[in-house]
Subunit: 336 residues, 2 copies
C-alpha cells in the first residue's frame, strides 16, 4: 500500500492512503490521523489501511479525491530517528580516489553511517532554503526505509523483517561545510540541513521481486535543472543491504518504530570502454560528478547548485509508473 | 513548574505535574496526555499546567498522589532530536592531554556537538543493558535543555528564549567502541547507546539566579557504586552556554519543539596546591578520571563499569533539595 501525509497546518500532517497509480487518495480518518500512529501500532492499524487501499485501487472508495504531491509533507514530517548509511561503496571509492586517499579496509566490512537531524524534514515539493550559496549546495538521491521496532542485537535477517515502508530521500548536503566538521570527528551537523522525502511511502509487498535481499532493484532517476544526470541502479551495487544497516544500529541499542534508515547516495561503477572508464549511469549527487572530473581531468569543473536551481528525484517500477511520486525541489535564498 | 512522564505501557507515558519538593504529583489529564504535545503547543498548554502546579504546591490538588521516580520514563521517552554538545572544554583538554594531543584552535570558538539517537531513551531508574562488559561502559553526567521552535539562523540570545525545560542526562558511552567510530569521522553510533534523563523536567523560572546566561550554576553530583565521585559546578566553566549550542544547530536548519540539547560531560579544572594539581571537584565520567590518572601516573588505573555497578546523578538547589530527582541506574547484562 501507499501512504502520504497531507499538509493541514499541523506538525505531522493528515494521513492519506494513495492509490497504486498515484491518481487518487483518501483520508485515513477513522483509522489513524498520523503515520507515526500507524507505525506505533502496525499490526492493528495497517490491515485496516490495506483494506481502504484496495477499495481505493478498485475505484470504489466513496470520498476519494485526486492525489496532489504538492500537498504532501514528507510521509513522516518529523521522526524519532534518521540514520543515514553510505551503503554504495563505489561512491566512497570515487570521492577518496579523487583526493588520492585509500578506502579504509573496514569500510568494506562494516557500514558507514551517520545520525541525522529528524525534527524538521522538508516536504517533497518544498523549497530548500539556505542562507548562503557559498556552502556548496548539493542534492543526494537515496532510497530509505521506515522501520517498526527492531530489538537490540537483531541480526541483519531479523532487521529485514522490521522494514515497514520504503521512500526516496533527498539528503541535502553543504559540501564546503563538511571538511571542517569531519575533521572534528564528531560527524555531520551544519553540513547536513533538513532532508526531504518522497511524496509517498510504500510497503515492501508492492515491489514484487524488485525488492530482494534488502535491496531495491530499480533505477533511481535524478534530474538537475531539467536535465537527467543520474539513472542509477539502486540494487546491484549496494554494498550493505538495509537489514545490515539496521543491524548496525541495533548492536548496542533498540531501533524503535518510525526510525528512518537511508542508503546513502546511490552510486554505480564505471564501465570500461576503449580503455576508458565511462560512468554511463550518471550520478546521484554533484560531489560524485566532481570526484569523477577530478580523477579524469585533475580538477572538478561542475559547480554546486545555485539559488533557483532545481532537482527532481524519482523511481519508476517495472511497469514504467512512478512508484513514490517525485521529489521536486528548488534551491532558494532564506528569507529575512 | 516540574513535569514528568509516568509509565503506563504506552510509548510516550502519561504526563504528570510534580510538586516543587517532588513529594506529590497529579495527572495532567484534561490538559495534555504527553509532554511532546505540550511542547508542540506551549503557549496554550503550559499556563494551564502552571495553574495545576501551583494548586499542587499549595496542597490543594484534589487527586494528588505521592510522586515516585521509579514510575518515571524519561520526561520525553522519545524525542525528535537529541543533540549533545561538548561544552566543558576542560574535559576535552584533559582527554587530549592524556594522549599528548593538542586541542584544535576552533574547539574554543565553535561548539563540538554530535547528533544522538533519540528514538528510545531509558527511564531514570531503568537498568542500562549491554551485551558485553568489554565495551568500556561509562556514564556521563550532563545538563540538558528541551527547546521550543527555534528558527534557522537564530542568534545565541534568541535561542536562549527558546528553552522550555531543563533536565539532567546520563549519556551512556561505550569507550572502547569510540576510537574506531571517530576514526571513520562520521561521528558516534554504536558507542552511544540509549541515554537516560532525570525523572523530572523543570522550567527555567524555577532556578532563580542559578540559571543565568544560559548556564546552570549549581553542583552536579555523581555517585558510582554509592561513592561520591563528582561534585562538579555546571555553571562557571561551561565554555559554550546553551544558547550558543542551540544556535550552532540553527545555522543551517530549524530546531523544532521537543529538541533536546545536552551540555556534554560537566567538568571542572584542577586547583593548584603545593605545586600539584588536584581535581578536588571530581569527575562526571570515568574517562575523565582515567585521563587524569594518565596525566599524573602515565597510565589509567580506574576500570570502566562492570555488570551490577550503579550510578546516581543528582543536582540540589540552593535550598539543598533535589531539583530534578535522581537518575539511578544499574549496569546489567542484556538478557537473551
Amino acid at each position: 500500500m501507499k501512504l502520504a501525509s497531507y499538509k493541514d497546518g499541523s506538525r505531522d500532517g493528515q494521513l492519506v492512503v494513495v492509490s497504486r497509480d498515484l491518481s487518487t487518495a483518501h483520508y485515513a480518518t477513522g483509522i489513524a490521523d498520523r503515520l507515526q500512529q500507524v507505525l506505533d501500532d502496525w499490526g492493528f492499524l495497517s490491515p485496516q489501511l490495506q483494506d481502504l487501499y484496495e477499495t481505493l485501487n478498485q475505484g470504489k472508495a466513496r470520498h476519494a479525491f485526486p492525489f496532489d504531491p504538492a500537498q504532501c509533507m514528507s510521509p513522516l514530517p518529523r521522526a524519532y530517528q534518521w540514520a543515514d548509511g553510505s551503503a554504495y561503496i563505489n561512491h566512497v571509492e570515487l570521492v577518496r580516489l579523487a583526493r588520492n586517499a585509500k578506502v579504509p579496509e573496514n569500510y568494506y566490512t562494516e557500514p558507514l553511517m551517520y545520525q541525522g537531524g529528524s525534527d524538521d524534514f522538508l516536504g517533497p515539493r518544498d523549497d530548500a532554503q539556505f542562507a548562503s550559496e557559498d556552502w556548496g549546495i548539493d542534492f543526494e538521491a537515496e532510497v530509505a526505509v521506515v522501520t517498526g521496532d527492531v530489538p537490540m542485537t537483531s541480526t541483519p535477517e531479523q532487521a529485514l523483517e522490521g522494514i515497514r515502508l520504503l521512500m526516496l530521500a533527498n539528503d541535502w548536503s553543504l559540501r564546503h561545510l563538511i571538511p571542517d566538521e569531519l575533521a572534528k570527528s564528531f560527524g555531520f551537523f551544519q553540513s547536513k540541513p533538513a532532508t526531504a522525502f518522497s511524496p509517498v511511502a510504500v510497503t515492501p509487498d508492492e515491489f514484487g521481486d524488485a525488492w530482494q535481499g534488502g535491496k531495491l532493484h530499480l533505477t533511481l532517476q535524478t534530474q538537475w535543472n531539467g536535465r537527467t544526470v543520474g539513472m542509477c541502479d539502486a540494487g546491484q551495487e549496494m554494498t550493505f543491504h538495509f537489514g545490515q544497516l539496521i543491524a548496525h544500529i541495533c548492536k548496542t541499542r533498540n531501533v524503535r518504530a518510525g526510525s528512518i534508515v537511508g542508503s546513502g547516495t546511490v552510486s554505480n561503477r564505471a564501465v570500461e570502454k576503449d580503455d576508458n572508464k565511462e560512468w554511463v549511469k550518471g550520478y546521484s549527487c554533484i560531489a560524485e560528478k566532481r570526484a569523477i572530473e577530478t580523477i579524469l581531468d585533475g580538477k572538478p569543473s561542475t559547480e554546486f547548485m545555485k539559488f533557483g536551481d532545481t532537482v527532481r528525484i524519482e523511481m519508476k517500477g517495472k511497469d514504467g509508473q512512478s512508484v513514490f511520486g517525485a521529489i521536486e525541489q528548488k534551491v532558494a535564498k532564506l528569507a529575512g
